[in-house]
Amino acid sequence: MVPESAVSTRNISKNYGDVEALRNLSLEFPRGQLTSLLGPSGCGKTTLLKIIAGLLQPSSGEVEVNGHTVTGPGPDRAFVFQDFALLPWASVIRNVAFGLEMRGVAKSEREAIAERYIREVGLAGFEHAYPHELSGGMRQRVGLARALSVDAQVLLMDEPFSAVDEQTRRKFQEDLLGLVQNEKKTFIFVTHSIEEAVYVSDQIAILLPRPSRVSEIIRPSGFRDKGADNIRRDPEYLDIVDQIWASLRSYVE
């Protein structure tokens, strides 16, 4: 059973001059679940995510979050950036509290909240470190803690694990599964890794390029409860990975 949508995009088109990046794209994002946007590079998945974030305006169509039409960034959504987007001159705790600072939360209160999320992402003890003193994986944990600390219902993640090493990435993927279960938030996750998408997603939207449209929606169901360790050798997992690759391979040059 598919729960009601937290986010819906309706007939989104986006043109850059003569170039059609997205055409008439409609998609539903079920509440409390993780939806991946998967596709070859240039398929407009990041563009779609930024339109949902309100960072880009669609040429036509509209985005609804919890029934409200999106006109710009809002407190109901938080963004996790591919390149982390941390303030290099600010300590971890200030970076994590940045979203709250922008909302005018008092310093002691926002630092208390930030400390809690820093612990939650496993960075306790690094509150006063600076981004350049952290590894790539730790920096993205800071980015994640910053997005979590504003307590938005929708988390938008733009290839968040693409700039970290393979082992860290696997750990992140496992942690993400736990996060989706515990946080009761709606996650929208952009990735170009088929395995990653199948591993973490409740729903995978496959986007095909030029112009971008949704070609297929896949909802893995059988292996989600089998535990993080068993997913990667589950037959359904392997079948879906193969199936997606079969439909994408002709678009990869």
Binding site: F81, D83, G99, M102, R103
Partner: protein
């Protein structure tokens, strides 16, 4: 440098030049070059005089005021130019023209507009310093990581917050580089302004000394000015090195 195994302290070559000056001065070749020892003796005598201290105070005032305006106007204008395409198109040609223009030629115009006093000197000082500060602040803002800007936007930063909490800090190394060069230029501005207007500060002193052929006095004041300008430049370079540490890490 090491000589006969001894490590010489920095700038010891000045001793050689000082000796040469002393010898030429002692030979009495020209009234224009009195011996260095006489110049230094005069220097200490001059520093105590009311005329010198008044000149120093006036210069310090004009310099601080000029630098203050150059920084407080220059940095925001530069940041706005970096952010706003229209403003950039409007102002950039003028900034570039004034950056390379021989500003000394403008001083007589300033005297006509603002009178023969402190106001003109302050404006001259500002004009010398401000353009490079604007250009550097603009360059600093232009190189800001796009995703930092998007990040601030996505977390709902107001324009004022984005300005004070992102743009200013992200552009800080470039801004400070511009401020350092701007201040060095302002030192030139404050002296040139005084010399041309020449009824206040060191300009008046120079006028007095050279008109009366007091060459030792003239050289003494010149040494003081050179030393002051050099000290300010070195101090700023030291501050900049401390900021460069974090600039390299961003």
């Amino acid at each position: 440098m090491t000589v006969f195994g001894y490590r010489l302290p920095g700038m010891s070559s000045l001793i050689v030049w000082g000796l040469l000056w002393e010898i030429v001065g002692q030979m009495g070749l020209t009234f224009f070059i009195p011996p260095l020892s006489e110049v230094i003796a005069t220097l200490f005598a001059v520093i105590g005089t009311a005329a010198f201290q008044k000149a120093l105070a006036e210069t310090a005032y004009a310099f601080s005021a000029g630098v203050f305006f150059a920084i407080t106007i220059g940095i925001p204008v530069g940041i706005l130019m970096g952010k706003n395409r229209l403003l950039d198109e409007l102002l950039l040609p003028w900034v570039n023209v004034f950056l390379s223009a021989p500003l000394t030629a403008l001083v007589p115009v300033l005297m006509v507009l603002f009178g023969f006093g402190m106001k003109s000197i302050v404006i001259t000082t500002t004009l010398f310093g401000i353009w490079i500060i604007i250009l550097n602040a603009r360059a600093g803002v232009k190189q800001i990581n796009r995703s930092l800007v998007e990040m601030a936007h996505s977390f709902g930063a107001s324009p004022w917050n984005a300005f004070t909490k992102i743009y200013l800090w992200a552009a800080l190394p470039e801004i400070l580089g511009g401020v350092r060069i701007g201040i060095i230029r302002a030192v030139k501005g404050v002296i040139i302004g005084q010399l041309l207007i020449s009824i206040v500060g060191f300009g008046a002193l120079f006028e007095l000394y050279s008109a009366n052929f007091l060459m030792a006095h003239f050289w003494a004041v010149l040494i003081v000015l050179f030393a002051l300008a050099f000290t300010i430049a070195e101090f700023l370079a030291y501050l900049e090195r401390r900021v460069a540490y974090y600039a390299a890490k961003r």
